[in-house]
């Protein structure tokens, strides 16, 4: 099977896999999605990044034609849900955040069930191989580990050899090893030219897998770009993070004047300095602390990540830990 995306879509269509404009969804007083515009290109891995309740799941389910939007237009592979639902369902693979597969079917039976819905696709054997569950073929779903179950869910999305794969928090709650296994599955799908729309609240995952990410908050996109670009937009590559023993305070102006500091931000009682060169800033910070008589309770430094991007945009953390 070859030729993902544009080649098979409506002639003349651009290589856009997913396009939506002004997407809006309200639940009572809650605006889950607030006028969202989005474009995902064929062959790209696009990440939706955001805290709990940002509207990621709602967005993804609207795009998959499962939840009706209150307003806005969606085009998938040049088609719309109103006109081409049956055709679209044949060509999309889906893993939903909350779905639990049938407890007492085996891995093979589950994949066989999903495979039977599609006109064309991979063999069950091949999919089991891809998601590394060949040895568990005759195990009931209820007896699989969390990571294996999640890989099976992705397997069910892959049986039809989809052009677009929708993954809603595929690795949430998994241990690092299971997470890496799933990353492998997704990478392989991409190598064959597939398009992926992924939601996550793990920075590392987005940075590693995604060509572009949209940072979502309260139903809106607040930043969009390649992970590297977004981090670069902070103006510096490192973050110095410190907290003061109780009572201590430092003047923000003093901090901004420290060498190499690009930005200063406080959240949850900690201070985050975005800096160009850690080795210039830290000694100066120590000196400032000594002069003002404040004592450190903690000090760490790390490479700037999407987490810092989110923090600098919203003043809040991506995950409440």
């Amino acid at each position: 099977m070859s030729g993902f995306g544009a080649e098979r879509a409506v002639p003349g269509a651009v290589a856009t896999a997913i396009l939506c404009r002004g997407l809006t969804k309200r639940y009572g007083d809650v605006v889950a999605v607030d006028g969202l515009d989005l474009e995902v290109r064929v062959g790209e891995c696009f990440g939706l990044l955001g805290p709990n309740g940002a509207g990621k799941t709602t967005t993804v389910e609207i795009l998959q034609g499962l939840v009706p939007a209150d307003a806005g237009a969606v085009t998938i592979l040049g088609m719309t849900w109103e006109r081409d639902a049956a055709e679209l369902r044949q060509r999309l693979g889906s893993q939903l955040q909350e779905t639990k597969l049938a407890d007492k079917l085996t891995v093979r039976e589950t994949l066989k069930l999903f495979r039977s819905f599609y006109r064309r696709g991979r063999s069950v054997e091949e999919v089991m191989e891809m998601v590394g569950l060949s040895e568990k073929r005759d195990t009931w779903v209820v007896k699989l580990s969390g990571g294996q179950r999640q890989r099976l869910a992705v397997g069910c999305a892959l049986v039809c050899e989809p052009e677009i794969l929708f993954l809603d928090e595929p690795t949430t709650g998994l241990d690092p090893q299971s997470r890496r296994q799933l990353w492998g599955v997704i990478a392989e799908f991409r190598q064959r030219g597939g398009t992926v729309l992924l939601t996550t609240h793990y920075m590392e995952e987005a940075e590693r897998l995604c060509d572009r990410v949209a940072v979502m908050d309260r139903g809106r996109i607040i930043a969009l770009g390649a992970p590297r670009e977004l981090v670069a937009s902070l103006g510096a590559e490192h973050v110095v993070e410190f907290g003061l023993a109780d009572g201590g305070r430092l003047d923000e102006g003093d901090l901004r004047r420290l060498p190499g500091v690009v930005n200063v931000r406080t959240a949850d009682g900690k201070t985050y300095l975005t800096v160009r060169r850690v080795h210039e800033t830290v000694p100066a910070l120590m000196q400032l602390l000594a002069v003002s008589g404040a004592a450190l309770s903690e000090l760490t430094t790390h490479h700037a990540t999407l987490e810092d991007v989110f923090l600098s945009l919203t003043g809040r953390h991506l995950r409440d830990e």
């Binding site: 099977m1 998959q64 034609g65 499962l66 939840v67 049956a86 369902r89 044949q90 999309l92 889906s94 939903l96 909350e98 779905t99 639990k100 597969l101 049938a102 407890d103 007492k104 079917l105 039976e109 066989k112 069930l113 999903f114 495979r115 039977s116 819905f117 599609y118 006109r119 064309r120 696709g121 991979r122 063999s123 069950v124 091949e126 009931w140 069910c156 049986v159 039809c160």
Partner: protein
């Protein structure tokens, strides 16, 4: 590239596998009705009427009286002191006390049926012992027909109850569970045809229906000699129609419920009145006349009536047009409404 299986077959296999892998469900569907039939069949089986226990007071010339009564059929006499006899009468351990003397006195509670029976038997025995002769000859001819015993009444009722229960639970429960774990939503994201999903439930029902009906009828026939008089086709028609009716009702009950608790409550609201009123364990003619028209409109009443008519009385389907028509009506109405209000998410 590969060929996938047939979606309807796979969906039906899913239903059947899920059920067969649930030992508890298997018990309730297959073993429980048989256990119930066995227990009730034994408890209320046909036995000769028990003899009535009476007391003779140990006063005066009691011996001839006592021997005459004790040898009479249907009576069992005990000798007791007056105080003890009085106590046993009060507590209902004897139905009647005979006080010897001229005339003999019968002490009994005239509101107890058993005491009335005892009075008739004692009268007869005493008069005979005193030399009475019958003035008119009466002959008895005893009947014990298969088909008129309690077990013959009970078995079709249990079958109807089981068809209702498994239809409603089997379909309602499975759908709500699938909806609750958002698997229904996942299926909807695939090109699965909704009609095939619903139809697979019906097909799986038909599979299990065959097993549960045949096992219960065979059990009744082998263990209690319950007759199966109607033709296999007529019975099959009634059974399938009943199963479809309750599949529709199950679908209706499950059409919007989000949780297992919610659907369980609804199921009970629908089924418990029918267990009681629709003539499963006892004839619904026992209910007041005012209730009869309502009882006769219930789908389980129709199913039980139809089952008794074909299985025990051996009627053809032509003779049971009313209950069959009523079931069709219920089925069509339930399916119609259920499909309209059904929520997939």
């Amino acid at each position: 590239m590969s060929r996938g299986g047939n979606p309807l077959v796979e969906l039906t296999l899913w239903r059947i596998r899920e059920f067969l892998r649930e030992p508890e469900a298997l018990f309730w569907v297959f073993a429980f009705p048989i256990v119930l039939a066995f227990a009730l069949g034994l408890a209320f089986g046909s036995r000769p009427p028990q003899s009535v226990r009476i007391a003779v007071e140990r006063t005066g010339q009691f011996e001839p009286l006592f021997s005459a009564l004790d040898s009479a059929s249907g009576l069992r006499a005990v000798l007791l002191d007056p105080a003890a006899a009085e106590r046993e009468l009060r507590t209902g351990r004897v139905a009647l006390v005979v006080v010897p003397g001229e005339p003999a006195v019968l002490r009994f509670d005239s509101t107890r049926q058993e005491s009335y029976l005892a009075r008739l038997l004692v009268y007869d025995a005493l008069q005979r012992a005193a030399g009475r002769r019958d003035v008119r000859e009466i002959r008895e001819s005893k009947v014990r027909e298969r088909g008129a015993r309690y077990i013959d009444f009970l078995l079709p009722g249990l079958l109807g109850m089981n068809i209702m229960g498994t239809g409603m639970w089997g379909i309602g429960f499975a759908i709500v569970k699938t909806r609750n774990q958002k698997l229904l939503k996942r299926l909807l994201a695939s090109p699965m045809r909704k009609s095939q999903y619903l139809f697979s439930h019906i097909l799986a029902r038909m599979f299990f229906l065959t097993l549960e009906v045949v096992s219960l009828l065979l059990f009744g026939y082998w263990v209690f000699d319950v007759p199966v008089r109607g033709s296999a086709w007529d019975i099959a028609l009634v059974v399938v129609l009943g199963a479809m009716t309750f599949a529709g009702l199950g679908l209706l009950v499950a059409s919007r419920a989000q949780t297992i608790e919610g659907v369980s409550g609804l199921m009970n609201v629908v089924m418990v009145p029918m267990w009681i009123c629709s003539g499963v364990f006892f004839a619904y003619s026992n209910f007041p006349d005012a209730m009869q028209p309502f009882i006769k409109l219930l789908p389980l009443t129709a199913l039980n009536d139809a089952l008794r008519a074909v299985i025990i009385e051996g009627m053809g389907v032509a003779a049971i047009g009313w209950p069959l028509g009523l079931m069709v009506l219920w089925g069509v109405a339930c399916f119609g409404v259920a499909l309209r209000v059904f929520r997939w998410l």
